[in-house]
């Protein structure tokens, strides 16, 4: 059994996180779940939301995850996200604008509005703002 849990968050653009952690809490599609070292192997999809983890110094960190997958091994958690941002990298202005845009589109309820897309955009924006 490994002593520590290793967290890796990778996106197509780059690896965002690659470090040892105490605990990871991720937004699974069937509900939020926490992982400590020694967790059973586990595979799930993730929804748009917040990934929290505590690093070895006990500091809590937050990440925005734009959906994806998580693979959990006893000593390692791998998050495959289409995109992810650390809390300090979130662009609040952009998120606010995106939120307004999405809300407007949803409230207008025009025929050609892509509801699914607008809702996803809204969820992304809301979660980004929540983390901040």
């Amino acid at each position: 059994m490994a002593e520590k849990l290793f967290l890796e968050v990778v996106t197509p653009q780059k690896a965002i996180v690659s470090e040892e952690v105490e605990i990871v809490v991720a937004p699974g599609s069937e509900g939020e779940f926490g992982v400590l070292k020694g967790h059973t192997t586990f595979l799930t999809s993730l929804k748009i939301g917040t990934l929290r983890y505590k690093d070895t110094k006990g500091k809590e960190r937050f990440l925005f995850i734009n959906g994806g997958f998580a693979e959990v091994l006893p000593n390692k958690v791998t998050i495959l996200a289409e995109s992810a941002e650390r809390r300090q990298n979130i662009d609040v202005e952009r998120a606010k604008m995106a939120k307004d845009r999405a809300e407007k589109r949803l409230s207008e309820k025009r025929e050609d509005t892509d509801i699914v897309r607008a809702e996803a955009a809204l969820r992304r924006a809301v979660h980004r703002l929540k983390i901040k």
Binding site: T40, T41, F42, L43, T78, L80, E82
Partner: protein, 297 residues
């Protein structure tokens, strides 16, 4: 024989061309580095994804997703053609386009082919073809490729596949092998060839054959259904990254050749220039000597 002035101006113009080609080579070199970096950055994601996909693909049946089911009769085929926006990169685009042409002629002569073009060069070619252009993306290849471009175009392909608007989707792109080799490649992306192939092709070294038995949430079939479309996006994204890298590599080597050719031409022209000049001087001398002789009488 050309006059001195003509030769001189030719030399100047070739030298200017050389300046341009060597500058373009340098730009291509630095862009190539950037493109290679983003290819490197994508690798961990792609290999991990393939890992996970392979491990659940083994567990689930062959009919987990409609994306896996081949059509009984293939009538409509979509080709995604990745080329560059800009020229001056040797035979790069020509190779890709002729690959597409051959494929259409040999395989899909009796089928409805539609084209999706990444890159201006491919689009310009497609415009002159009888096949309709379904979609075009300019300014993607060669610059920074966003994953969202790959996923939105991939989603469109999946949608039209599920609606029955297309029966097969192929990807034509330039595979980056190394600086000197870029191979135009054809890859079928829809219907997904077969799960074994997917798993096999992406075979990544696993820790001493350690295949963890995952608990899946939701079920492995549902997960697979979610991962397969993503896998298509990944393939498209990968193709775009490779094409971008190949473009810069092709441009770099072709510009290097062009620079060398310019040097050769300048050398030749310089020889002609010198000879012409010398011939002029000799002729002048002959005149003077002749005149002096005549005066001596």
């Amino acid at each position: 024989m050309a006059t001195l002035k003509e030769v001189k101006s030719k030399i100047v113009s070739v030298k200017k061309t050389k300046q341009i080609t060597s500058a373009m080579k340098m730009v291509a070199t630095s862009r190539l580095r950037g493109a290679q970096n983003s290819m490197e950055a994508f690798k961990p994601y792609a290999s991990k994804f393939a890992d996970v996909l392979g491990s659940i693909a083994g567990k689930s049946g062959g009919d987990a997703s409609p994306l896996l089911v081949p059509r009984d009769e293939v009538k409509k085929v979509a080709l995604i053609l990745c080329t560059s926006d800009r020229g001056l990169c040797g035979g790069f685009n020509t190779n890709l386009i002729s690959k597409a042409e051959k494929l259409i002629k040999s395989e899909f002569d009796d089928k409805d082919v539609s084209l999706i073009c990444f890159g201006k060069k491919g689009r310009d070619w497609a415009k002159k073809q009888p096949q309709p252009i379904e979609d075009e993306f300019i300014g993607v290849v060669g610059g920074t490729v966003e994953f969202s471009v790959a996923s939105s175009s991939g989603q469109k392909m999946i949608d039209s596949f599920l609606e029955g608007a297309v029966d097969e989707v192929y990807l034509i792109y330039s595979k980056f092998v190394n600086m000197a080799r870029q191979i135009p490649t054809i890859k079928q992306i829809l219907p997904i060839p077969s799960l074994e192939d997917v798993a096999e092709e992406k075979e990544v070294e696993q820790d001493e054959g350690f295949l963890p038995e995952h608990i899946c949430e939701p079920s492995s079939d549902a997960l697979l259904g979610e991962m397969l479309p993503k896998n298509i996006f990944i393939q498209i994204y990968d193709a775009l990254l490779q094409t971008s890298t190949s473009e810069h590599a092709a441009r770099m080597s072709s510009m290097e050749n062009a620079t060398k050719a310019c040097e050769d031409i300048v050398g030749e022209l310089q020889t002609i220039y010198n000879k012409t000049r010398q011939a002029g001087i000799t002729a002048d001398l002959m005149d003077i000597v002749g005149g002096a002789e005549a005066l001596k009488g």
